[in-house]
């Protein structure tokens, strides 16, 4: 199996707050890894460091063996990584179709003459196909400002995927959507990602979603990795149940995570 992502001894502080403390993570190609942790545990900081949005104070990030630690987000994307956002990052004044078209255009134009038209028949067909694949074709000509949150999430992920990445990081894909929508949304997303054989890391607060879709779980607590292993094993660990999931071992329940 090929190692797709390797984070070595990552540390990051924001003033007196230590957001990442000696993080070591290795992800093999084809894995689906869930990242869990209470608010402020360091999950998003880890994703931000891997995707170049935040630089680590010390440590090294390797993507398929290439050092990407100091690269800008754009260069990391070009190296084969894609990310979605907790708050979907869309082009507010454009339609659903045009949002996707911009993403497809950028992905396909790399290395080609810069004057090539954005709207080619072939590219329009590809966009329609992706919209079908992500089950959002009915919103095709709608402005993104008026979209339901679940559709915004799907579009955000679809846009991240069109350039053919090797690793996809999803930041809370089910946050802000109803409990009825979360499984259909994840079925669509994970189905599309798996069909392309992609490696997936997703941050999630919902343990039902984590246990259903992750092969492996990394639990963060106070900027450190508390546990890392097969999903059932990590979710059963007493320290994870108490400090991350929020279950008190005497049978009570805290409020760190949703069920």
């Amino acid at each position: 199996m090929t190692t797709i992502l390797e984070a070595r001894n990552i540390n990051r502080s924001f003033g007196a707050v230590v957001a990442a403390r000696n993080i070591n993570v290795t992800v093999e190609e084809g894995e689906t890894v869930g990242i869990i942790g209470a608010n402020g545990a360091g999950k998003t900081t880890f994703v931000n460091i891997v995707t170049g949005y935040v630089k680590p104070s010390t440590g090294q990030i390797l993507l398929a063996g290439t050092d990407i630690t100091r690269l800008e987000p754009r260069a990391i994307v070009l190296a084969g990584l894609a990310r979605s956002f907790q708050i979907p990052q869309l082009f507010a004044s454009a339609t659903v179709f045009d949002n996707l078209l911009y993403a497809v255009g950028i992905a396909e134009e790399r290395g080609r003459p810069f004057w090539n038209r954005l709207r080619t028949a072939e590219r329009l067909r590809r966009c329609d196909k992706v919209l079908e694949e992500f089950a959002i074709a009915e919103y095709r000509d709608q402005s993104v400002a008026t979209l339901p949150q679940g559709v915004r999430k799907l579009l955000d992920i679809a846009m991240a995927m069109v350039h053919g990445p090797r690793l996809v990081l999803l930041d809370e894909p089910t946050s802000g959507i109803t409990s009825e929508e979360k499984f259909p949304l994840m079925d669509i997303v994970v189905g599309a990602l798996k069909e392309q054989g992609l490696t997936v890391l997703f941050i999630e607060h919902d343990m039902e979603v984590v246990s259903r879709y992750a092969d492996r779980v990394i639990a963060f607590y106070d900027g450190s990795i508390l546990a890392d292993g097969p999903t059932a094993q990590v979710l059963a660990e007493p320290s994870v149940r108490e400090l991350v999931i929020g279950e008190h071992l005497d049978g009570g329940e805290g409020g760190n995570a949703r069920h």
Partner: protein, 310 residues
């Protein structure tokens, strides 16, 4: 109609107008079309969410190139002069773009203004360039042809019309490309554009160079038409006027800047003619009316008319 055919038709109509328009209108049309080029550059920036209050810098560079080049090299050919003015303005925009592409909003606008005012200060203090009076520009030739004085404006008009159609056509084509379409996308969400693998800074830099080069071309043509250059071409009021016309025009089409520029020049000319003491109030009131009733500029009327015809 294909894009190329549309351009040929536009060129034919514009050039043909040179035989119909009276002398006073010919001059006004030359200036309107040339300044429309400057506004076209501002439209490219505006679509990206950027406003430059310093396009006078590039406009002045184009104009002073047309004034100085014949004195230094003896070249009087309009094609070479305008091309050189465009290139020099574009090169300066390229150099300054490394810094300016890092800034947005008011910081970008004010830095643009600051660079223009630096050139203004230099020109005002340079006796060799005529200081505040500027200097005369020699009559130009066209690929070896030297028009008689009475037909000079007509020939310059035809030349201007061709330059405008070519440059507006190129910009229109650019705006349909992937890099060209990264205007509203950048304005909406720079973070997303970067995470799609596209360099926002490079895109802004490219658009800034395009805007600078277009302003240089406009300045070069206006200097040729007026036959004189002076530091007022670089002054902040000149830059502000271009922003004014951009708002008046709207950003919906590459044609809009030329419509807006023509309306502005007509408005100013008639206001000066019939209300010489109040012309600024008329021009200012017009801008106010456009902002209040036509926030999409004059082009929004055309867009509405086209939409109603479908």
């Amino acid at each position: 109609m294909g894009y190329g055919l549309g351009l040929v038709a536009a060129a034919a109509v514009l050039v043909g107008a040179g035989w119909v328009l009276p002398e006073w209108a010919l001059f006004l049309a030359i200036v309107s079309l040339a300044k429309g080029l400057v506004v076209l550059g501002l439209v490219v920036l505006w679509r990206t969410g950027l406003v430059s209050f310093g396009q006078g810098l590039y406009y002045g560079l184009g104009a002073y190139t047309v004034g100085l080049l014949p004195q230094i090299t003896g070249i009087t050919d309009a094609v070479l002069l305008v091309a050189t003015g465009t290139a020099i303005a574009g090169l300066v925009a390229f150099a300054l773009g490394f810094l300016l592409s890092r800034y947005r909003e008011i910081f970008f606008a004010m830095l643009c203004l600051a660079f223009a005012m630096i050139l203004y200060g230099i020109l005002v203090k340079t006796e060799a360039l005529g200081s505040t009076d500027g200097f005369h520009v020699v009559a130009v030739t066209y690929l070896g042809y030297a028009p008689a004085i009475e037909s000079a404006n007509q020939v310059l008009y035809v030349f201007t019309a061709i330059v405008v159609v070519v440059l507006a056509g190129l910009v229109g084509r650019y705006l349909q490309s992937v890099t060209g379409q990264m205007t509203t996308a950048i304005r909406d969400n720079e973070l997303r554009v970067e995470y799609l693998g596209f360099s926002v800074r490079r895109a802004v830099h490219t658009k800034f160079v395009i805007a600078g080069a277009l302003a240089g071309a406009g300045g070069a043509i206006v200097a040729t038409a007026i036959g004189h250059v002076d530091p007022e071409m670089v002054w902040w009021i000149t830059s502000g006027e271009f922003v004014f016309v951009t708002i008046l025009s709207g950003s919906g089409s590459v044609i809009a800047p030329f419509i807006g520029s023509t309306v502005f020049e007509l408005l100013r000319s008639f206001a000066l003619e019939y209300a010489p003491n109040f012309w600024q109030i008329i021009v200012g009131g017009s801008l106010l009316a456009v902002i209040m009733f036509l926030p999409g500029g004059l082009w929004s009327l055309v867009a509405k008319w086209r939409a109603s015809g479908r």
